[in-house]
């Protein structure tokens, strides 16, 4: 396999031919040149200092370079990858003997070859600006390296999301999440400002800006756990595993057409990676809280918080992620009817398939157990720093874990059972279980707080509040042991139902 042999790469060629139309390229260049020229006219107006004008010129070029590579490149690669899914030409490529890695490279670079070309052109335009005092050659090189990494990350996510769509007529939910992250990322960063803004800054490659703008240098500290790392390294720590994850997903789309985009093991690795990042940033922020507060960073209102409040809020965020992540993992870990049948049939064929707990068709509970163990391990720093009693922490963790297992059990029962074709059944039961029953019970309880709390834990949201309560320095929600018992019982009941479906399927496959 020669990955640079693009002239013999079918997917690259399909994109290359489509984009290599003189009229389209001409119009694109004309629009870009117009934007560049008008921006120059706008920013130079009123400036008398030649160095300042040159600096502003430089920033215009840099901004356009970023827009072309990150925004326009992502849109094109997403559009061309989606075309493969909608036209079903993807099936031809699945069927072709070209190595899968070549197909992925062809798709990602075929859709963006023109943007990469422009990126290089912009780089050469930027080079002469290193004569300016405020811009160094090393800074420019690091900025471009950072931008390249972000470009690759955006393009991979955009292409991957487009071809991973389970339904050719609908946009993939993954793609929607991706777009939400791009455009809503800063907003999310503000919502979780106290803990995760640096994470988003690195995720979107915003940290690259400090290499060309010395004024931003204090804004993006490279702290991670107890290490002081260069920002580009931190950016790499965040973006490179995500790029690899998307590539793995695309590989499976090409070679395993009826399987989820990510294997269970990949999802577990992804969750472990997210926990690793979140805990890393949390610890570095907690340890350097005073220094961060002193710098008065623009979108991190630390001045409103004490370290204790910060710790409490971070722990709440972590518990919420543990719960939400568990449900997300359930969707990947619970096998579809098709996958389960296949797994059982292959197991019958002697030697064809070993009993693998991470197989697409295997039951989900080993994966979820693994997820909860990893999630529990990363909870340890929060427990240690907050000096919470082990019993309380265990109760909080058990509550979250039980909800995750109960949800997965119900999902497995639904996907393998006779109601699997009626999604509305699943949604209705969830609404009844999580909303209506607690609601009705709360009316009957006469709004007695203790009784109310006990009933509210029926829903994961109530369970989450209970878990937070156990984690709070001064618990506002303090419920009895019975609440925990109820949700553990529900989890067991759900798995009882799921196991019944397993037995029924076993019978059917053997027949």
């Amino acid at each position: 396999m020669n990955i640079f042999n693009l002239k013999n790469n079918a997917l690259f060629l399909s994109c290359w031919h489509e984009r290599n139309r003189p009229v389209q390229l001409g119009c694109f260049i004309l629009l870009l040149a117009g934007a560049l020229f008008l921006s120059f006219l706008t920013i130079s107006y009123g400036e008398r200092n030649a160095e300042k004008i040159a600096e502003n010129f430089f920033y215009v070029v840099v901004i356009l370079q970023a827009i072309v590579l990150l925004l326009i490149g992502s849109l094109f690669v997403g559009h061309l990858a989606r075309r493969e899914r909608v036209n079903e030409t993807l099936d031809f490529h699945r069927n072709s003997p070209q190595p899968v890695m070549e197909k992925i490279l062809g798709l990602v670079f075929g859709g963006t070859w023109f943007e990469w070309l422009l990126f290089v052109v912009f780089f050469f335009i930027e080079l002469p600006f290193v004569v300016l005092k405020s811009i160094s050659l090393s800074g420019l090189l690091l900025f471009n390296a950072s931008l390249m990494m972000t470009g690759l990350f955006f393009h991979t996510v955009s292409a991957g999301s487009a071809i991973m769509s389970p339904n050719k007529k609908r946009i993939s939910p993954l793609l929607i999440i991706f777009l939400l992250l791009i455009f809503g990322g800063p907003l999310i960063a503000v919502i979780f400002a106290s803990a995760q803004s640096i994470f988003f800054a690195h995720l979107f490659g915003i940290t690259a800006s400090q290499y060309i703008n010395p004024a931003l240098r204090n804004d993006f500290h490279g702290w991670f756990y107890t290490f002081d790392l260069p920002p580009i390294v931190l950016q790499g720590i965040i973006q490179i595993p995500l790029i690899l994850l998307m590539i793995k997903g695309m590989k499976r789309v090409f070679s395993l057409p009826n399987s989820p985009a990510w294997a269970k093991a990949d999802v577990i690795r992804f969750c472990a990676f997210v926990f690793f990042l979140i805990t890393g940033f949390f610890m570095s922020h907690y340890l350097h809280f005073d220094q961060l507060a002193e710098t008065g960073q623009s979108y991190r209102p630390y001045s409103f918080f004490t370290p204790e409040r910060f710790l409490e809020q971070s722990a709440s965020l972590y518990l919420f992620l543990l719960l939400a992540g568990g449900m997300y993992v359930s969707f990947f870990a619970v096998p579809s009817y098709f996958k389960r049948s296949k797994y059982m049939a292959l197991r019958e064929r002697k030697g064809s398939c070993r009993s693998d707990p991470f197989n697409d068709g295997a039951t989900s509970w080993p994966t979820l157990l693994f997820y909860l163990i990893i999630g529990g391990l990363f909870l340890v720093p929060y427990i240690a720093l907050q000096k919470i009693a082990l019993g309380q922490a265990a109760a909080a963790f058990l509550m979250i874990g039980s909800h995750v297992l109960a949800f997965a059990g119900f999902l497995e029962f639904f996907r393998l059972g006779r109601f699997r074709t009626n999604k509305i059944f699943f949604i209705t039961i969830l609404i009844m279980w999580w909303v209506f029953i607690p609601w009705l019970a709360s009316i009957n309880s006469g709004y007695n707080l203790e009784k109310l709390g006990m009933i509210m834990v029926l829903s994961p949201f109530g369970g989450f509040l209970y878990a937070i309560g156990k984690f709070s320095v001064s618990p506002e929600v303090n419920l009895s042991f019975m609440s925990l018992g109820i949700i553990c019982f529900i989890a067991l009941a759900m798995w009882g139902l799921a196991l019944q479906e397993h037995a029924a399927m076993n019978k059917k496959v053997q027949s």
């Binding site: 002239k7 013999n8 790469n9 079918a10 060629l13 399909s14 031919h17 489509e18 075309r83 036209n87 079903e88 030409t89 099936d91 031809f92 490529h93 699945r94 069927n95 072709s96 003997p97 070209q98 190595p99 070679s255 395993l256 057409p257 009826n258 399987s259 579809s336 009817y337 098709f338 049948s341 296949k342 049939a345 292959l346 064929r349 064809s352 699997r420 074709t421 496959v509």
Partner: protein, 314 residues
Amino acid sequence: MSLVEVSQLRIAYDEVTAVHDISFTLDRGKIYGFVGPNGAGKTSTIKALAGVIECTKGSIVLNGHDLEVQREKALRHVGYMPDFSPVYESLKVWEYLDVFAAAYGIKAEDRPHHVEKWLEKSDLVSKRETLIKGLSRGMRQRLVLAKTLESDPIILLLDEPASGLDPIARKQMRDLIKETATQGATILISSHILSELSEFVDAAIILEKGKLVVAGTIEEIRTQTGGGQTIIVRFSDENAGSEILRKLLASEGIAPQRVSQNKNEYVIRFNNAEEDATKFLNKILTSGAAIAECSVKNDTLEEIFLKVGAKEVA
């Protein structure tokens, strides 16, 4: 030698089981008709053979490689044409052929010549620079067929390739398929136009409701399903025919399945009794009766299918 071995193939979607444990083999150099009504599981089976969907149970071995275990090797020489035309609307005709020539490992320097050859074979030379969105349905079908054949596949899977083609294009398609078969390829072709299929297939596989009804050469199927011959005799004298036939059948002990009469024309049907039919034909021709016209017709694939399809599954 079998190029395709399908064993206990089952394809179960969430909603329905499309294919129920079917097994068959396809031999080198033969053309197989894949026959069945809508929803019989033809498309699902072809997709599974092409590696486009996974099967729930069973195994598929293509050219000696298990599709589940050695996917890339198994699909190396497989050409697949789905029942509609997946195309890149914004590519030109030659670009489309160029892309898939690259997908099957034809080097950049050889591709221009290769593309020209297939443009000619598919009669699309005049459309070389046309965007695919400007092609008619028939032209698209021809283009996709050319794309499928250009990789010189030894296993060719064609799902309804003739739909949307005019009679001339159908003939061209048939010729192309026959030519590919003579070069040693195995061809599995599904179609609703059974009369056309029976003209050039060597064997057939009949599916109904996801189950295999019968498979084999047309002769074998005819025998297995009690298919046979129909002899049509038109006597010059309307009144004499009945008597001659009665005597002939009684003296030779021949028992046809059915005898029907329309004025001086008699239709004598033999099911699964080729010997009797031949004997009867010889006797009637040498009987000295005044015969205006006599013809023999073997059951077509369509007739066999209509006869066995639903009955076997029920």
